[in-house]
Symmetry: C2
Subunit: 782 residues, 2 copies
């Protein structure tokens, strides 16, 4: 089905059997390892050649000025940019003085495997030096899910035909030279030499480098130690920006030099130099004591727990089977140990979008983590909670009340330099509120409810009240905001924003009533609660009576439709001015459809079918956040072929580099969205009420389809095969778990799987057409 | 009436009788001299102290990068900034080695007078050195209206009590040190040392400096010569950035050193170094030969002609009498010899707005020049015509057809770095078209009609057709544009823009029919003309039936009204984000009212009265372009008190520094707007059809009011006194001139003045209130 397949379909791994130097940067993103705290791109062990060198620590950033040709009140003056920190994964190799560089000599074999169950990146290569000597190199790399400061590598080199003298140089390198970037605004700003040396240390097989940033005032330390055979020559050299352990050996044919490298990372904006130094050295000592084998075993065990509650099995589509697990793996990696730090749009896989986190986290990533690794979802929301004071300040700057969360940020300050698609996108606040509510629905976590959700819900509700007004028509309106669709900014009554804001207000009211004492401490009055409920009840939802379709925003359907040219080029934003894009009906990414997914109970089946048919020819999908939502709605309205095509597009965004920017990092939200497309789309799973509901359908070509989620401590498994679906609950607390199947209640107990008939949605229209050249990508290439 | 009066009311001059060092920068703008080609701020002869040193040549600029925190398609990458060129007005004085500096010693007298009939700036001072020696200094400065390259100064110094040794240093100085500027976006960018030396020359009393810019590729030359008594010591010194003639003399009490300095300026982006050198030296030689007395006489004669067709006389309001002449003088100065270059928003009086020209020219300045100095209006439009290719390129960049003129520019390229208030303000194109049509109505200039107006009208009509669409309602709509009111950007169906665009289309159709052969050459087809007419006929004009009032834009009156706080601070844009401002009903500057002025025949009297009452409490007048239009409409709807207050605000904008930024240059459009407020407001003059119409009213307190305009070669004079108005025509071609008085035709012949009764409009409502703190400024201070 897919003509060119760099990464062969394999259910539990992503492997590459040839090295494509042109696609090196893309593969570095694909093969990135992370635990949410540390992220390392899949750079080759020996450093050169590379696409983009990348080692990241969550929330370690530098500040940079944001310039404006014409400044305005409230425009942020500084931004934040993720930094490439000290590279600890470097192991260079010399074979009889010839440096291992795959651009020279002859590469007989080169294979890399990302093992999705083991959580390691394996590499194996057979290289012949320009002088004709062959060596086999094997490395395995992991970023530990159990020891969050630790990156570990096992590296071995073996002589093949003749005796060779090998020298391995294991390094820490700060301030790596970075490639120059393109002009695409989604690409990061490059800062040169951003790290200033603070302290260095080296002895035996150990070394440590500490640096600081200039303006953000952060310090980073990287320490390394090695386990290496006693019969080798070793030498440690330390400079300000690098530390190097040189290990030399003579190898007879078949003989190996083996090496384990343990790297510990730490950073802080507060702790002292000695404290930070001690922290990373302790982490390294502990990991060395744990030992390589145990680190590997722990890694597998951590992932086993994850897969148990998260795995999706698809029989009949090997490519999608692989892609959904790849997506789940990276989604999990991005958040697993982020621990009250942001989950950026690219995770920690690349510098794209300056390392910023957006609303993607709450609306695409957290739905998956809430259902599969709820502690990670809670952590991400605790990060938002920890930035409440910054959000309150931002609201005050904007002359608004409550809290206004940033459109894009690393630490919490607004870093958006274009307000029509930044500040105006107020929905981010409702997205965060909804993520809190969702987490509560799925977990019933009372501490979180009281300590985290309550203050977030209250402060965002206050924001909405200060933003909205009751018009002459008696409805509550929100004017001049930008919804998810960034091709129509500064709109009135964007349906998604309005409905999400209304839910935010209603949730705040419920929360305040659940926690009356705590709410009173936060200044909530009965009148305030009544105002929230009143606004939520009267929210405007624009509808075009002539066309019998919801308007994405007030007046939207009356606008001129975009006139697609012959050979129309995409993304539109690089070929047409916002001025023209904003004034016409053309949609970057699912917007009304996103409302119909997450606020699906506010629409009838016919509403959804008609909206899907109306908006489909207008939606150009210039955002990677669109395909998965279109898949969900396509499945709901019975366009199963199309749903599958959209699912494939979301799934293959990075594996097939559909947007040609996987080099800058993975599209974590699209990877997470693959799960949404499959589970909310074909699984028909919704969480609108107090119980999960399902309306599952098998995609064309699928023989069997099984998925599982974690719901309030239990695991629910849903398996489709033939004409039936089987629901099973595991790990329940003894009480049956209530769900809905196609609108009818089902009670699940551990002992008795429940079997029901599949009910397929009947499409209202033929398969709708997309804008020219914008049929779903898998369909295009298939 | 005005409590503090720096410049005493005097009908024909603006004088200052004390030196206020704190207000030096403001006075430099007030006392600026210009002929539209050269502009010199009213800096003191001796240079120090100063507010902002300023010598400008129309369209001499440097290019600077326009940075963006987040760039977008079509955002201009470079801007243009007016440069302070070689200062030729410097004459330093040393009295017994003590430099004349008014911050030291004792200033016994200091008087400056801008003579509005003579067109010169006179200065007289009596200064006592720190050592106790008194000298009297007199200078007279002019920028010639008859020899456009020439600045001339007569300077004299006289010993008073004791013999003194005086040394005058007459200089040319390039790259003057500039004061650092504020963060206000309306203030210019400062470029340091923007001029690179090319060539210098000096001999005897003559010198010349030539410089070039770095990026804009322009060269500027300044030459000087002097007429000075033979019995003086003279020495010329020339360096790269300065040339200095030192003149020394011993003066007995009563004895004078007299000096005439002639400075010639020239610049070019094309001509060679020798050509430019020769040009400025020839200009100086010619002016020296003309001689000071004749230069002064010619200046007076040129202004006599102007005043004959432009003067406004008001008996009963000395302050306004002075202000309207001050405004006319500066309006004339700004455009008199601009000769196919732009007329910037600040004229050539200061660096504000980077020296850019905006739509102000066409809609505020050119209406005055068209009626009083039509050749200057033609010149300004010929400049627009000369930039048609740039405007075509800009339209193509924006994927539009025809020509799209820049929102702000010096040379013609778009320099706006914030598109919602730049590119989106498409009305500038209709404004230019209307200025062409207006000029044609007033002059019947056939060459202009064919060569200038036709191509501008056609290309702007093409732009509008590519911008608009016919909606389901059968009307022709323009969505997503910004009207004059910059507090509600990116609107649909802005009434002003729609009506002006419709007029543009209709005018293009008429023009194409008048010039069928020429139009065909420009590719115009019958179908295209029909499309223009069709769109013009069906233009949407949003009206709120519930409130019975026109909407500034579609849906405007349904929006939330701005909630004014206690102690609301202005301008709003410096205290609230655009995000909040755009989404609410709050108006920076007259917008619908501007439509009701210039497209007044599209509205009934009741429409105007109701709109005036509705929009008045929403209009904060954070733009200097607002008060004059509010005055015009206030007069039309019978709010004469209010009209007078608005007229005074427009008139005193700079003389009273009402916006606290006169330092950066005069508000030429507001100065011109004073004339509009008086002539279109109280004079009730309109030019909607083929004849002028009047509905004159005397303002409260005025005893007599007379104004005159040039109409198709004739001069029409309108004089109000008591209960009557007297119309007289002069310089007619023998045929009677037809006008309307209060809707009834009147025929004017040279011989017989026509007397009619005044008819006062009856107000529909009480005097409407303005936003808190925003009553018209004269009313506030009175």
């Amino acid at each position: 089905m897919i003509p060119e397949r760099r990464f062969p379909a394999d259910p539990w791994q992503v492997s590459e059997n040839d090295l494509d130097l042109e696609a090196l940067a893309q593969s570095e993103s694909i093969f990135a390892l992370s635990n949410g705290h540390i992220g390392v791109r899949g750079n080759l062990d020996e450093g050169d050649p590379h696409g983009i060198p990348g080692t990241y620590l969550n929330s370690f950033y530098e500040v940079r000025p944001l310039p404006y040709a014409e400044a305005g009140y409230g425009f942020p003056e500084t931004g934040q940019t993720v930094l490439n920190v000290t590279n600890g994964k470097l192991i260079r190799l010399l074979v009889d003085d010839e440096p291992l560089d795959l651009r020279y000599g002859c590469v007989h074999e080169h294979r890399r495997v990302l093992d999705l169950r083991a959580g390691v990146l394996r590499r194996s290569l057979l290289w012949e030096t320009p002088a004709g000597e062959r060596v086999r190199v094997r490395s395995t790399r992991l970023v530990s899910l159990t020891q969050r400061s630790i990156l570990a590598i096992r590296y071995s080199v073996q002589a093949v035909d003749v005796p060779v003298r090998v020298v391995a140089q294991s390094e820490l390198v700060a301030n790596e030279e970075m490639p120059s970037q393109s002009n695409d605004p989604r690409v990061a700003a490059v800062l040169e030499h951003p790290l200033y040396p603070v302290e260095q240390f080296g002895r035996g097989t150990q070394a440590m480098l500490m640096h600081r940033t200039d303006r953000s005032g952060l310090r980073v330390a990287a320490a390394m130690d090695h386990v290496v055979g006693a019969d080798t020559i070793r030498e440690m050299t330390v400079h300000e920006d690098w530390a190097r352990l040189t290990i030399g050996a003579m190898l007879e044919p078949g003989e190996r030099l083996d090496l384990v490298k343990i790297v510990g990372y730490g950073w802080s904006g507060r702790r002292t130099v000695p404290a930070l130094r001690d922290q990373v050295e302790a982490a390294v000592v502990a990991a060395v004591r744990t030992g390589w084998e145990q680190l590997v075993a722990d890694q597998k065990a951590a992932l086993d727990v994850f897969w148990q509650g998260a795995d999706v099995e698809i029989e009949g589509d090997d490519s999608l089977q692989q892609a959904v697990r790849f997506g789940l793996f990276h989604t999990f990696q991005a958040g697993a140990r982020a621990e009250r730090r942001a989950i950026p749009a690219k995770g920690l896989t690349g510098p794209g979008y300056d390392g910023h986190a957006f609303w993607d986290t709450e609306m695409f990533v957290l739905p998956v983590l809430t259902a599969t690794a709820p502690h990670a979802a809670a952590d991400a929301l605790m990060w938002r909670h920890s930035t409440l004071d910054l959000a309150r300040e931002r609201a005050a700057t904007l002359n608004l009340r409550g809290a206004c969360f940033p459109w894009r940020t690393i630490r919490g300050q607004e870093c958006s330099g274009y307000w029509p698609a930044g500040t105006a996108a107020m929905h981010v606040n409702a997205d965060i509120a909804e993520a809190c509510e969702r987490y509560l629905r799925w977990t019933h976590d009372r501490d979180f409810d009281r300590d985290i959700a309550l203050p977030i819900l209250l402060e965002t509700a206050r924001l909405w009240i200060s933003l909205g007004y009751v018009g002459q028509d008696g409805c509550w309106h929100l004017d001049g905001v930008t919804g998810p669709d960034e091709y129509s900014a500064i709109c009135d009554d964007n349906v998604y924003t309005n409905l999400m804001a209304a839910r935010n207000l209603a949730a705040a009211a419920r929360s305040a009533r659940r926690w009356p004492v705590e709410a009173e401490v936060l200044g909530v009055t009965e009148a305030e609660i009544a105002a929230w409920e009143g606004a939520a009840d009267r929210v405007a939802v624009p509808y075009d009576r002539d066309r019998r379709v919801h308007e994405q925003a007030r007046g939207y359907t009356a606008r001129e439709r975009w006139s697609f040219e012959d050979g129309q080029r995409y993304p539109l934003m690089l070929h047409a001015p916002y001025f023209d894009i904003y004034r016409k009906q053309v949609i970057k990414q699912a917007d009304l459809l996103l409302a119909m997914h997450w606020c699906g109970d506010a629409f009838s089946d016919e509403d959804k079918a008609r909206a899907f048919a109306y908006y489909e020819p207008l939606t150009v999908r210039d955002s990677s956040l669109s395909a998965c939502t279109q898949a969900v709605l396509a499945a709901e309205v019975g366009q199963l072929d199309l749903a599958l095509d959209y699912t494939a597009e979301a799934a293959l965004m990075d594996l097939h580099d559909l947007e040609h920017n996987a080099r800058d990092g993975l599209h974590i939200a699209s990877l997470a969205g693959t799960w949404l497309a499959i589970v909310a789309g074909f699984g028909g799973m919704r969480d609108h009420g107090d119980r999960l509901s399902f309306r599952p359908q098998l995609a064309p070509g699928w023989r069997r389809f099984r998925f599982r989620v974690r719901w309030r401590g239990a695991r629910i498994e849903v398996e489709l095969a033939g004409e039936t679906v089987t629901y099973t609950a595991f790990e329940t607390d003894g009480e049956p778990v209530g769900i809905d199947h196609c609108g009818r209640p089902v009670r699940l107990t551990e002992a008795e799987p429940q079997v029901r008939s599949l009910q397929y949605a009947k499409p209202l229209t033929d398969r709708p057409a997309q804008p020219p050249g914008r049929a779903p990508n898998r369909a295009r290439s298939g």
